[in-house]
C-alpha cells in the first residue's frame, strides 16, 4: 500500500521537476534571445524548416476541413432556411477555433516531432557537448532560434489555414451546392469582427506556438541520450503538445467569451 502512494508521489514529483526544468529552459531561452536576434538568419532558416515545409500539410488539411464545414453547415442551416449564413459559420469556426487549434495539432505532429528528434539526436551524439566546449551556448545557437521560429510561424500558418479553409467552404457552398455568392461573402463580412474574432484567434495561435515549441524543445533537450530515449521523447512531444493545446484552448476561449 505504501509503495503505491510512493509511486504516485514519485510520479507527481518527477512531473513537477520536469515542469521546473522546462521553465528554466524557457527563461534561459529568453535571456539568450538578444543573441539570436542579432543573428536572425539562424531563425529564418528555422522558419523555413518549421513553417515553409509544413505548408503542404496545412493547406491540404485546411481545404478539406473547410469543405466539410461547408457541407455540414449547409445541411443544418437549410433546415432553418438560413443557408446564406454558411459563410459566417465557416469563417467563424475557422478563425476562432479550428484555424489555431488544428494548425497547432498539425504543427506538433509535423514540426514539433522534428525539433525533438533533431535536438535529442544532437545531444545523444555529443554535438551539444561539443558546442559547449567551443564556448558556444547550445541554447543560444540551437534552441532559441527554433523557439522564435515556432512563435513566428504558428500565427502565420494558422491564418493560412483559416484562409484556405474559407476557400474550401466556398467551393462546396457556392459552386457545388449553389448558395448565393453575394450573400456568402457579405454575411461573412458583416459578422466577422476584427477585434473580437481575428485578434482573439491570433492570440490563441501565438500562445499555442509558445506551448508547442517549448514542449518540443524541452523534450529534445531533456531526452536521455539514447535511441530509445529520443523515440520516447518524440512521442511525448505529440501527446503533451496536443493536450496542452486543447486545454489552453478551453481556458483562452472562456476568457475571451466573458471579456
Amino acid at each position: 500500500m505504501l509503495s503505491f502512494f510512493e509511486k504516485i508521489g514519485g510520479a507527481i514529483r518527477s512531473k513537477i521537476t520536469r515542469l521546473g526544468a522546462a521553465t528554466r529552459l524557457f527563461f534561459s531561452i529568453i535571456s539568450y534571445s538578444s543573441d539570436s536576434f542579432k543573428r536572425f538568419n539562424l531563425t529564418i532558416r528555422e522558419i523555413y524548416f518549421t513553417g515553409v515545409l509544413s505548408l503542404v500539410i496545412i493547406v491540404v488539411s485546411a481545404f478539406f476541413v473547410g469543405m466539410v464545414l461547408g457541407l455540414q453547415g449547409y445541411y443544418t442551416l437549410q433546415k432553418y432556411g438560413s443557408s446564406e449564413a454558411i459563410g459566417v459559420l465557416v469563417a467563424l469556426a475557422l478563425v476562432r477555433e479550428l484555424g489555431p487549434v488544428v494548425t497547432a495539432l498539425l504543427f506538433a505532429g509535423r514540426a514539433g516531432t522534428a525539433i525533438t528528434a533533431e535536438i535529442g539526436l544532437m545531444k545523444a551524439t555529443e554535438q551539444l557537448s561539443a558546442m559547449e566546449m567551443m564556448a558556444v551556448s547550445p541554447v543560444a545557437r540551437i534552441v532559441a532560434p527554433r523557439f522564435w521560429a515556432g512563435i513566428i510561424t504558428m500565427p502565420l500558418l494558422a491564418s493560412i489555414f483559416s484562409m484556405v479553409g474559407v476557400l474550401g467552404g466556398y467551393v462546396v457552398a457556392v459552386p457545388l451546392i449553389g448558395v448565393d455568392e453575394g450573400a456568402f461573402w457579405s454575411q461573412m463580412q458583416a459578422n466577422v469582427d476584427f477585434n473580437y474574432d481575428i485578434v482573439n484567434g491570433f492570440i490563441k495561435s501565438v500562445v499555442f506556438g509558445i506551448a508547442c515549441t517549448i514542449i518540443a524543445l524541452f523534450e529534445g533537450y531533456d531526452a536521455p541520450p539514447t535511441a530509445e530515449g529520443v523515440s520516447r521523447a518524440t512521442t511525448r512531444t505529440v501527446v503533451t503538445s496536443s493536450l496542452a493545446v486543447l486545454g489552453l484552448d478551453f481556458v483562452l476561449t472562456s476568457f475571451m467569451l466573458t471579456v
Binding site: 544532437m122 554535438q127 557537448s129 561539443a130 567551443m134 564556448a135 558556444v136 551556448s137
Partner: protein, 265 residues
C-alpha cells in the same frame, strides 16, 4: 615553475549518483608538454576531460586552468576559459547538419569576425593538416569513423587553443593515419606552444611520443612519470598495462557478483 603550470587538478573527487568515480586525483599539466592519461575502460578518463572543461562539477577538490578555479566560474568565466581549449570528442561529435568545411569553420565563425576568404584559407589549412582537404564538401554521414575523427581534430584546433584535449585520438585509425596524427599532435603542440592532454589506450604510440604519463586506477593516480621511467617501473599495475596482460591488478570486469553464482552453478 608555477608560471608554466597551465592546468592543475587538486585532490579531485567526483561521482555519478551513488558511484564514486574519482577518489583523489592530483595532476599537473605544464605548458608545451604532451601529457597522456591512461587507464582501463570506464575508469573515468573522459570524465576528467569534462571536469577540466567545466561541464561537470567536482564533489570536492578542484581543477585550476590558467590560475582560475573552473567550477567557481560563472557562465561567462567558463566560456572565457573554454575559448583557450580545444577538445576532440571520443566519437567526433561533428555537427551532422553542417558539411566538413562548415564544421571546421564553426568555431572560427562563432568567435571571430574574419572575412570569408581568410576563413576559407584557415579551414583548408587545418583540413590539409589532417589530410582531408579534398573531403571538405562532404557531409559527416559520408565519412568513415576515422575520417570523422580527423575532421573533429581539425575543428578542435581551428582557433589555435592553448590547451588541446584529445579523447582517444587513435581509436579506429589505420597505422598510417595513426602515425600522421601522432606527428600532427606533436607539431601542433610545439608550433602553438600548446599543452596537449591525451586520453588513450594505445600503449606503444603513447610511450613513443608523450612527455609525461598518468595512470589512473581505482579513482586515484596509480602511477605517473616520463615514458622511460615508467618502462622501468616494477609496479605490477604498470607492467600489466605496458605488456597488455589480461591478469593483474587492473580488473577487466566491471564489478559484479560471483560469476558461478550468477550462472547458478
Amino acid at each position: 615553475m608555477q608560471k608554466d603550470l597551465i592546468v592543475s587538478i587538486k585532490d579531485l573527487a567526483f561521482g555519478y549518483a551513488e558511484r564514486q568515480i574519482h577518489k583523489k586525483i592530483n595532476m599537473n599539466f605544464h605548458r608545451g608538454k604532451v601529457v597522456a592519461i591512461m587507464g582501463g575502460s570506464g575508469c573515468g578518463k573522459t570524465t576528467i576531460l569534462r571536469l577540466i572543461g567545466g561541464q561537470i562539477k567536482p564533489t570536492s577538490g578542484h581543477v585550476e586552468v590558467d590560475g582560475q578555479i573552473v567550477h567557481e566560474q560563472g557562465r561567462k568565466g567558463i566560456y572565457e576559459l573554454r575559448r583557450k581549449m580545444g577538445m576532440l570528442f571520443q566519437h567526433g561529435a561533428l555537427f551532422s547538419d553542417l558539411s566538413v568545411f562548415e564544421n571546421v569553420a564553426f568555431p572560427i565563425r562563432e568567435h571571430t569576425n574574419l572575412s570569408e576568404e581568410i576563413i576559407k584559407d584557415l579551414v583548408l589549412m587545418k583540413l590539409n593538416a589532417v589530410g582531408l582537404r579534398g573531403a571538405n564538401q562532404l557531409m559527416p554521414t559520408e565519412l568513415s569513423g576515422g575520417m570523422a575523427r580527423r575532421v573533429a581534430l581539425a575543428r578542435a584546433v581551428a582557433l589555435d587553443p592553448d590547451i588541446i584535449m584529445y579523447d582517444e585520438p587513435f581509436a579506429g585509425l589505420d597505422p598510417i593515419s595513426m602515425g600522421v596524427i601522432c606527428d600532427l599532435i606533436r607539431t601542433l603542440n610545439d608550433a602553438l606552444g600548446a599543452t596537449s592532454i591525451i586520453v588513450t589506450h594505445d600503449v606503444t604510440e603513447t610511450f613513443a611520443f608523450a612527455d609525461y604519463i598518468y595512470f589512473i586506477a581505482d579513482g586515484i593516480v596509480a602511477a605517473e612519470g616520463s615514458p622511460s621511467d615508467l618502462k622501468k617501473s616494477q609496479l605490477p599495475f604498470v607492467k600489466q598495462f605496458v605488456h597488455s596482460q589480461k591478469d593483474g591488478p587492473v580488473p577487466f570486469h566491471y564489478q559484479a557478483n560471483d560469476y558461478l553464482q550468477d550462472l547458478r552453478l
